[in-house]
Structure formats: structure tokens, C-alpha cells
Symmetry: C2
Subunit: 385 residues, 2 copies
Amino acid sequence: MTDVVIAGIGQTEVGEHWEIGLRDLALHAIQSAVKDSGGLKPQALFVGNMLAPNISNQAHLGALIADYAGLTGIEAITVEAAGASGGAALRQGYLAIASGMVDVALVVGIEKFTDKLGSEVEEAISTTSDSDFEAVQGMTTTAQAALLMKRYMHEHNVPASGFAGFALTSHANGVANKNAMFRKAIKPETYSKAEMVSDPLNMFDIAPNADGAAALVLTRRDLLPSDVKSPLVKIAGSAASSDTLALHDRKDILYFDTAQISAGKAMKQAGIVLDQVNFFEYHDAFSIYAALQLEAVGFAIKGKGWKLAEDGSIGLKGKIPCATMGGMKARGFPGGAAGVYQAVEAVTQLRGQAEANQIANAKYGLIQSLGGPASTAVSHILMAL
Amino acid sequence: MTDVVIAGIGQTEVGEHWEIGLRDLALHAIQSAVKDSGGLKPQALFVGNMLAPNISNQAHLGALIADYAGLTGIEAITVEAAGASGGAALRQGYLAIASGMVDVALVVGIEKFTDKLGSEVEEAISTTSDSDFEAVQGMTTTAQAALLMKRYMHEHNVPASGFAGFALTSHANGVANKNAMFRKAIKPETYSKAEMVSDPLNMFDIAPNADGAAALVLTRRDLLPSDVKSPLVKIAGSAASSDTLALHDRKDILYFDTAQISAGKAMKQAGIVLDQVNFFEYHDAFSIYAALQLEAVGFAIKGKGWKLAEDGSIGLKGKIPCATMGGMKARGFPGGAAGVYQAVEAVTQLRGQAEANQIANAKYGLIQSLGGPASTAVSHILMAL
């Protein structure tokens, strides 16, 4: 198969964009990505979005955004898989290029949570969990994550400060990322004194819902001129997997099967083993998710994922740097855009353009986008050529 | 490229399924399709859905339906492009198989409009039009179609009874389709005496919102045993195109650019010309859409699409049979499932299994799924092997 490469990246600052609408936000990211690609002309648009029909009263984003970006006529769809919508849109773009039917694909992740009040957003997010068996009981995804975390702490004897390392790392890495929502490092005391949201989950275990858009231009290697300036990044592996929405249907609620399956497939396709992965962009919507991903992917044994955060292994100079540009905790969590931000940040690393946050000798990056508690996981191995 | 074939089809009756939920409806269609395929094992699920997050309080349908269908672990996403969601899901399934990354794909269209009241459904459907410039003014998609129809009648001197042929044909064809919502033929007087909904659009110019699920199993020809019993149907052409959501942004509101572009590309890929198309499953959510599609695709010159309905050309024995199993008007309009029903019905024709509704010597069928007033159009040429 021809190499599928990411030829352009773009992103908006993540935060509360009260001043502009959904389509404008997408436009900014698209313009940056197309410019970055040297002006490639997209033939297809894959929009990753989680909740715009509920939160922004706008469905049919594919056609809307294609037109607004001056791409009227191209094929365009929205891809939804809850919080993994961005990763899933990237995979659809990848499949389209790999099929040989599309030469240049645009992948855009977009979410505008501030179009509704926080409580309304929580209600909307609840539609991504099992509405007949979980949401109907009043369980929010935050409350669900708290139950997971509580069980994890009980089974594995984790102290109250056990998860602090995730927030500390993300916030430290967010400082130098000019697109991050929070650019302030925090101290261990900040975590330990934080307000409780849903016991044992405190404010620093939860990524902030935010507005943002990120974009990628995908094409085949052979369609680019041989003297492309930016270091090229190839999609070396791409895979996805799904699991039950409702936790009660799982054999082991403390193991993210889909994270293991999709990462394993992506690495197999890329022809690499875990040791070759230089950094990992996990989906830290909740710190417990990050811990469980580290375990499922294989960076830690069961029950020890949190240790990697505590002992500094996930830091920029650690054994397996994670959330290298601030992750969802500090960069912010713009729903369906989150998975595309992961890709944009990974490309930045692999191009060697991450400045203060640069990982040394980054050749392979693993990015993993989750929907709910890994009810969906989409994994990609990006590789510097 | 390897031939992509539709190896299995399944559908539920279209109507008001108060008694069962979204996931059960999908399950019935999936079980039929998998059985019909001889028990192929899907590796990927593409769900076409328009409004479940709003109407059924359920997003994240990919993982939910995969699990409920006993396919836990496979990759699964939802594809949304308003009314064209079903056609768009089919195209994603096609691209996945064509990429060589997926051997067996399941495409499911699903909608359950009865989960909300009619007025709430109208409000939800309005999110598929331009929320900032159209929906915000209170314009529903029905009112929008009425404006299109009025302008068309004015410009082309169409009499009040001019569109009756669409409803008459669909209802005649629905009689023998056991999955159709309405199985009763109507007379010209029924149309002319029908209640006005939004002048000049009467009740028979509008397809009924309904519940339903349809499913397809896609694979590569070479993966099937050589002695497959059912006549095989190949996806010979697949294409999509997008246009503005808001009508005021178009050069000519009475020409469906995307219908022309996508059908043209699909035919080119199939290596056929329009004369070779034996039947056309158009998207008759409104009769005016059907007329405009007939013109854009090239079956009629501009302003004369309605004539094909009036003179019997779209009948089962006409020059270009349309809505052969009742179309959206009589079979019913189950939102994101509609485009998948088109494919199921086209396969039935191409297999020669349409019984009373069988088109003679059907070799090529064109199906076209629209989102809004052709803001999205997805076209496929299906071919009997």
C-alpha cells in the first residue's frame, strides 16, 4: 500500500471561544492546515464531532464546514464515536486515502461546548453512555469515572495522592503550549487541596470541556513533490475497537480491552514493538482513563499505571513521555476535536518542532482517542520519515 | 481494485415501532443481513444515523450496536450527513473494503423518530439545515421544500396536479412491499384533495418520518466461495458531493449540483452512461426533491422532471423506473436508514427477487441519498454480476 502521510496540521487555541461560532472555529484550523500542507486541495472532508447537534443545534457539519472553507462540492461527512470522534475521523480519512479513491483528505475535529450551559453539556455528554441502562439512572460520565477510580484505588491500594502525577505532568507540559487552555504548572498541594467533584475524583482528575478545532491534511507520499520542506509524518498504523457502553456488561471494568486491541493492531501494522514507541498521547479526560490506558497498552502491569505518573516516567524526559503538549487536562478537552489535537501534537513532535516540549529522537508516536470508558478506542502510530 | 460486493441484506418493516428500542431495531436488520450473507463475520460497523442523539438521547451508536449485535470488539462508528447518512455510511463501508484494511464490513442505517413527539422531531430535523441563517428564522425543512416547489412551479408553469405522479407511483409500488409503511395505492383525487401542509406542498408530497433499520454486509468478491447462491451485486460506482446548507448561498436553487456531480462520478467509475441505468432509487423525502434529482442526474431536462412522473416514465414498466419498492413516500422515511433501504431494495431488484415489483433485466441500479435539499448527495451504482 502507498504510504499515507500527514502533510499539513492546523489548530486553534483551546478555550472558551464565546466570540466566534462553530464554523469559524473550524475554518481557522482548516486554513492553517491547508497552508501548512503547501496549498494541497482537499477532495474529501471528515469532520470529527461529538455533540454539535445537541450543543450547537447544528448537525450536517460536513457540508456546512466544507462550504464555509471554500471547498463547496467535495464529499463531506461527520464521524461520531463519542470522545473518540476525532480519532475515528482520522481513521476514516486514512481509509479513504488508502482506498485509492481519494488523493487529498481533510480531517477536522471540532467542538464548541460553550454554546450551552455546563449542566446542559453534562446532559448532552450523557447521551454518549448507555441511555437505557446508565444515563437513565442519572449517571454522568464523570460519576462513572469516579466509580472506576474508586474501585481501582481499592483493588490496587492506591493512596489519595496516587493520581496527582497525571495532572502535574499535563500542567507542566501545558506551560509552553501556546494553544493550551491552562498554561500554569501546579504543585502537589494544588492537587491534594483541590475541590472534590465526585469522590475520589477531584477537579484536577478531570479535563476541562472546552472549545477548539484542529485539522490535518492527509495524502499519499507519491503525490507530494520530493523536496517537501517540513519533515514528513507517515500514518504507520491505524486501528479501532469497540466495547460495551455500559460498564456492568464488562468482564473486568478495570481493563480497557479496546485500548489493548487497537494499539496492538496499530503497532503490528507499523511493524514495531512497544519499546520503539517514543511517546504516548493518551486520552486523559479523567486521570483514571490515563492509568488504565497505560496498563492496557502495556507500558505498565495491571494496577501500576498510576506509578508511571508518580515516578516521573511519563514526563518529557521520562521513559514514556505522555500528554507532551499538556494533554486533555491542560491543553483542554474539546470533545470531538481532542483526537485530532493529539495527531497535530504528535506531528509537531515528530517534525522536531515542539520546542520546549520536544522529545529527544522522536520517531514513533502512539496516539489513542477514547469514547467513554474505552467503549471506543482508536489508535494510530505516527512515524517520522 | 478488487470488486466490492454486497453479500447480504436485511431490513425491518418501516413504520411506528413503539414496542421496541433503537438497538433492537438495528439488531433485527443486522441478523437478517448476516444470515443472508451466509454467516460472514463483520470486522467493522458503519452506522448511518441522522438524529438519535437528539431524538433517542443516544449517541455513540457504533459501539452500542456492535455490542448488542454480538460483535463486541470490532471497530464501529456513526456516520452523519443529515438525510444522506445512510448513503454516506454505505460509502464509508465501501472505502474501508476498497482500502484492503477491512475484509467484511457491516453497514447499518437506523432511525427511531417515534422516540419523540412530531413537533420535537421537526425541531431536531431543523438542526440539519443552517442553524445560524435558516433554522434560527424558524424555517423547517418542510417549509424550505415548499418554497423550492413554489418557485419551480412558477418558473416552469407546472399545474397544481403536476407532482401527483410521484405519490401515485410510490404508493402503487408500495402495495406489494411487505416492509413498506403504506401499502395502499392512491388515486389522483386522493392527491388533489389532500390537506395542504405548506403551500404548495400537500400531505402526499411529503414522505412520512418513520422508524426503521436496514443493513448490508460488504466484502470483496475474492473472499466469497465461488458457489455463492444469491446472485452477487457489485458496488460498481461510489461518489459523494456537498453544497451549501442555506439555499440563499446557491447560484441556482432549482438545480441540485451535488446530485449531478455524485451521479456523474459514480457512473464514470462504473464505466456506464445514463442510458444503461435500469432503475433509479431517488430520495423522495419531498416530491420536489425527486423532480430536481431526475433533472440533475440527466433523466429530464431542466423544468421537466415532473413530466416523467406525470407520463408514467417512472413506473415499473416505464423508461426509468423509480422508487421501485415504494420509495420514501410509501415505504416510509426512516432518516439515516433511508439510504441503506435504497441499497437493500436495489440489491433485491438486481438479484431478481423483487417479485411483483421486479424490473425486467435489471443490471444497473442508481441509488442516491440526499441530506437536506441536496446539501449532501451520495450516489452508488449497483450492478448485478
